[in-house]
Amino acid sequence: MNSNSLPAPLPPVIEETSAGRAYKLKEFILFLRVHKLAAIGLSIIVILLIIAVIGPLISPYPDDAYKAVHLENKLLPPSWAHLFGTDELGRDLLTRTIYGTRLSFQIGISVILLSILIGIPYGLISGYFGGWVDNVMMRVCEVFLSFPSMLLSISIVALLGPSLNNMMLSIALSWWPWFARLMRSEAVAIKERGFVEAAKSMGVHPLVIIFRHIWPNSLSVIIVQISMAFGSVILTAASLSFLGLGAQPPTPEWGLIISTGRAYFLTNWWYVTFPGVFILLTVMAFNFLGDGLRDYLDPKTRNS
C-alpha cells in the first residue's frame, strides 16, 4: 500500500448523533414514568445534591455550621427565624442539617471513589487472569468480607483513632471487597465473549483487554452497585459518628447531631428529628434509584 494514495483523514470522531442521544433520554424518561419509585428516588437525590452544592448560599446562619455559640437562643422550637429550631448552644439546626447534607455527600463520594479505585482494578485483574492469581486475590477479599462490615469499620477506627478521615478510610476498607467481587464476576463472564477472544488472538496486551474491552462492558452493573452503596455508606458514616468514632464536634454531621440531640429527645423533639429525616430520605432515595437502575440497565430484564 503506498502512502501517496491515502485518502483524506477521517473527520474527527464526534459523539453519536444528537438524535440518538435524544432517543436514549426519551427512553429513560419513559422508564422513570413507569418506575415511580426510581423517579422519586432520583428527584430526592437531585434536590439533596443541589442543597449540598449551594449549601453555604442558602443557609440562614452560615456561622452556626461550626463553632458559633448563642446561648440566648438555645433549644428554640421551629419558628420562622429557625425553621428546624436550634440546639443546646443556640445554633440554627437548619443550617447544620444543610451543612450535614454537604458533608454526607462528600463522605459518600470520597468513600465510594476510594472503594472503586481499589475494588474495580482488583476484581478485573482477579477475574481476567483466573487461576492461582484469582485464588489468592479472592481469599484476601474474603478475609475482609468475613467480618460484618460495621464491626470491621469500628475496629479499624478504634485502631487508627476516631476522626472523619479515619472513618472514611475504614468504611472504604469494608466496601472495596464488594466492588472487587462484583467486578470479578463481570470479568469472568465478559472474558468468555468473542471480542475478548479476538483481542487475545491479535496479541493485545492483557491490561489493554481489561481496561478497553472488559471494563466498559461492565459499567452498567457498577453504576447500580454505586447507587446502592451510596445510601449505605452515608448511613454507616452517620452511625459511626453517632458512636463518636467519626466526625468530631463541632462538625455538623447528621449522626453526630443526633448523638448530641438524643439527650434532649423527650423535651426537644425537633433536635434529632430533622437530621434523622434527612438520613432516612437519603438512604431511601439511593435504594429506590438503585433498584430502578438495576431493572433499567440489567440485560437480563431488558434486552438492549
Partner: protein, 319 residues
Amino acid sequence: MTEVLVEIDNLSKYFTVRSGWFGASKTLHAVDNVSLSLHKGECFGLVGESGCGKSTLSRTLLQLYAPTSGTVRIAGSDISSVTRRVRRRNTRNVQMVFQDSYWSMNPKLRVGDVVGEPLRTHTKLSAAERNRKVAILLEQVGLPADFARRFPSQLSGGQRQRIGIARAIALQPELLILDEPTSALDMSVQAQILNLLKDLQEEQQLTYLFVSHDLSVVRHMCTRMAVMYLGQIVETGTTEQIFAHPLHPYTRMLMQAVPDIEGNAELTFYDGEMPKAIDPPVGCRFASRCPHVTEKCTQENQSLRELDGDRSVRCHLAM
C-alpha cells in the same frame, strides 16, 4: 506456487471434561493427531459437522489454546515458540474472521476502533495515520469510510462481517483463518461475502484456512481440502478430486447432504448418532454410523493412508 506456508504436524488438543459434579474426569479428543500442510496463496477447506473440532483447531493455530501435543510451523517458525518475540510475531501473522461477527466485536467500541485495534497493537502509527489506514481497509471491504464512526450494533450482519474481514486483513497476515465466516448470513449476503473474500485473496495473495460445515461453499472457494470427523482428519485431497470421487464413507455421507442450487439443504438425515470424542474407543470413529462397517473397523485403529496424487484417506475399505 506449492511453497508450504503452514505445517501442522501431529497436532492434538484434548480437553478434560467432567460429567456432573462428582463424575470421573474424561478426556475429550477435540483435535486428535492432525497433520496438514497449507500452501502459500491457496484457500484450504476444512469441513466437518459441527462439534468435530474445527474451531478448536483454529483456536490452537491462533494460540488461544496451547496444543496438548504436536507442532505448528508458520513460514518455518514454531508458533508455540518459547520466545515472546516470536510468539508475538505469530499473533500478527495469523488472523481470524470469526463466525459470529456480533459476538466478536466489542459493542462499546466504534467500527474505526475495532478495525484499528490490530494496528494499535502491532504498529506505531499515529491516531491520524491509523484513521487513514482504517478508511482504506473499509474501502477494500466495500464499505464507506464514515462507517468508522458507527457502532457494530448499527450495522447489518453482512456489513459487520465485512468489518470483521477488514480487521483481520489490517496487518496483512500470512494466514487468514475463516471460521464459518458466512454461516450466520442470508444466502444473498453470503455470496457477496464469499466474492469479497475471493477478490481479496487474489489481490493480496492471502492464504486462507476456510472452515465450514457447508460443502458447497468449500467447493466454490477452495482448491484443496480436508474432511474432519470427531477430531481426526478422515480424507484430504484437491477439492476437484474429492468432489469427483469421495473415498471415505463419511465424505460421501456429507456429499449427499449438499444443498441444491436453491440452497435447500437437507442436513438431518444422517443415520446413527453423532458421538462425542470422549475417551474414544479403539477402531474407526465413524464405525457407529458407517453403512459399510466390518469387523476390522471396530478392532483396529485406522491410519491416514497416503494415496496417489496427493490424496489420503482414513479407511481400509477405500481404494
